[in-house]
């Protein structure tokens, strides 16, 4: 009788422990399997994101190269031809047209130069970002649509930025100004460079109507273009209503830049 009793005890004991171990192992391997799959998916998503960013970078770089080529062609070919035409006109009698040809040609030359400079700012390579931005702001101020206030507390650091970063920042400021003029109904815009530790920070603010109240900050091609260019140079940015209730963006460049 004792033997039978012991057997039942051992059988129940082994069965209980055995099924517990099996169940615990099942849960352990299930969780491990799920985590491995999650890791693989995360790696795949990262790779896809990286590939997307590389494609975007390549598209932006080729866009810049194309802009530069068109800008140079306009400046060198069309601009030179117009200058020749102007010289030829100077040698002929313009009175027949009531002296209207020369101002017209001057106007075309100025327009072509402006388009050429906007497509590919030549000052960026020669004089740096500060000069190029100042030139851009002078043009806007001269047009009288908006008053731009530019401050550079970062000194020569912004001219030491690498070409890719400087061009991206120039395009971002260009796009921001364009947005302000088109949509914000602002009278003033404030552009400021300063340093925070080793990082360079650019703030842009206007006194216009600000972002839409629905909180959708990322509508339109212009904003997408800004985001894409900032991602390309790995800059952090934050958009918020500014002190003047208008639009405000703060862009922080990575510390190793420049």
């Amino acid at each position: 009788m004792q033997k039978v009793t012991d057997n039942i005890f051992l059988l129940v004991l082994f069965a209980m422990i055995g099924s517990f171990i099996l169940a615990a192992a099942f849960i352990f391997f299930f969780i491990r399997y799920q985590r491995n799959i999650a890791k693989q998916k995360e790696a795949m998503q990262k790779a896809e994101l990286k590939y997307g960013e590389e494609l975007l970078n390549a598209a932006l770089l080729s866009q810049e190269a194309e802009r530069k080529r068109i800008g140079q062609d306009l400046h060198d070919d069309v601009g030179a031809s117009l200058s020749n035409l102007k010289m030829m006109m100077a040698q002929t009698d313009d009175t027949a047209a009531g002296g209207k040809h020369k101002p017209l040609i001057d106007n075309i030359i100025t327009t072509v130069r402006n388009i050429s400079h906007s497509l590919s700012p030549p000052g960026l390579d020669l004089f740096g970002l500060e000069f190029t931005l100042q030139e851009l702001f002078d043009n806007f101020n001269a047009a009288g649509i908006i008053q731009l206030h530019f401050e550079n507390e970062a000194g020569k650091k912004i001219d030491a930025l690498d070409k890719k970063t400087a061009l991206a920042l120039f395009r971002v400021v260009q796009e921001l100004l364009s947005n302000t003029v088109k949509h914000a109904n602002a009278k003033n815009a404030f552009i400021k460079f300063f340093t925070e530790g080793h990082a360079i920070v650019l703030t842009y603010a206007d006194d216009g109507k600000g972002l839409p109240a629905n909180g959708n900050k990322r509508t339109g091609m212009g904003m997408q273009n800004i985001e894409a260019r900032l991602r390309m140079i790995q800059a952090n940015f934050e958009m918020a209503p500014g002190e003047r209730k208008g639009f405000f963006i703060s862009i922080t460049l990575p510390e190793n830049n420049g």
Binding site: I8, F9, V12, M16, S19, F20, I27, R35, E42
Partner: protein, 213 residues
């Protein structure tokens, strides 16, 4: 003495841990977590009544096991309905508990007296719960968010139920034979069973901590 303290004091009191954590977050608990919390309350009340009947009144507390079995299954069926079929599952939430209750009544009337352990119905209940727990794992494996899967409170609730019933199943099957064993053998098996219960309560406590509405 140590095993007696473990079985009679530590494990019964350990139910307070998930109950207190659940109570602190009761308003923010999702419906399925609230059902587990109700299960713990029912379990604690029946466990206290069982101790009172056994230790104080020195009477047979097996009728409470007969009463507890269909209630426990109904609560777990309700939990799995809310977790796996949020749109509702009439068979699992209504018909299965009703049929099982009828089975428990028939068992108590004709097969296993109210004053003996209801090993048949406890075993059937364990099998149903094991199938439901495996169903939960199968659905999680098919669900396309593996990262979320491993941190969801549902996984801990389900693991607690799965571990408890897989370990306890053999005990439920052979429980009426085990009572005839010498006291030391009987005690060893019930220490293991108490450890399973403790394990389930700890997993429930973790699940409540992870709960976010």
């Amino acid at each position: 003495m140590t095993s007696k303290f473990f079985m009679s004091v530590l494990v019964p009191c350990s139910i307070l841990l998930p109950i207190v954590i659940g109570l602190l977050k009761l308003q923010r608990l999702p419906v399925n977590a609230k059902i587990i919390w109700y299960y713990l309350i029912v379990s604690a009340v029946i466990s206290a009544a069982s101790i009172f009947m056994g230790r104080v009144l020195h009477s047979n507390n097996m009728p409470l096991v007969h009463l507890y079995t269909p209630i426990e299954l109904a609560l777990f069926c309700w939990f799995y309905t809310k977790t796996l079929w949020p749109q509702g599952n009439r068979f699992l939430s209504v018909w299965l508990p009703v049929l099982f209750t009828v089975l428990c009544i028939i068992n108590a009337l004709f097969f296993q007296s109210m004053y003996t352990y209801s090993s048949y119905t406890r075993s059937v209940e364990a099998l149903i719960c094991l199938i439901l727990a495996l169903n939960y794992f199968a659905r999680m494996a098919a669900y396309d968010n593996e990262k979320k899967n491993t941190s969801t409170p549902g996984l801990y609730f389900n693991s607690g139920i799965f571990l408890y019933f897989s370990g306890g199943f053999m005990l439920f099957v052979f429980s009426n034979l085990i009572v005839n064993l010498p006291h030391h053998s009987y005690a060893v098996i019930f220490v293991i069973y108490a450890a399973l219960v403790l394990c389930m309560y700890l997993l429930f406590a973790i699940a409540f901590l992870l709960c976010k509405k």
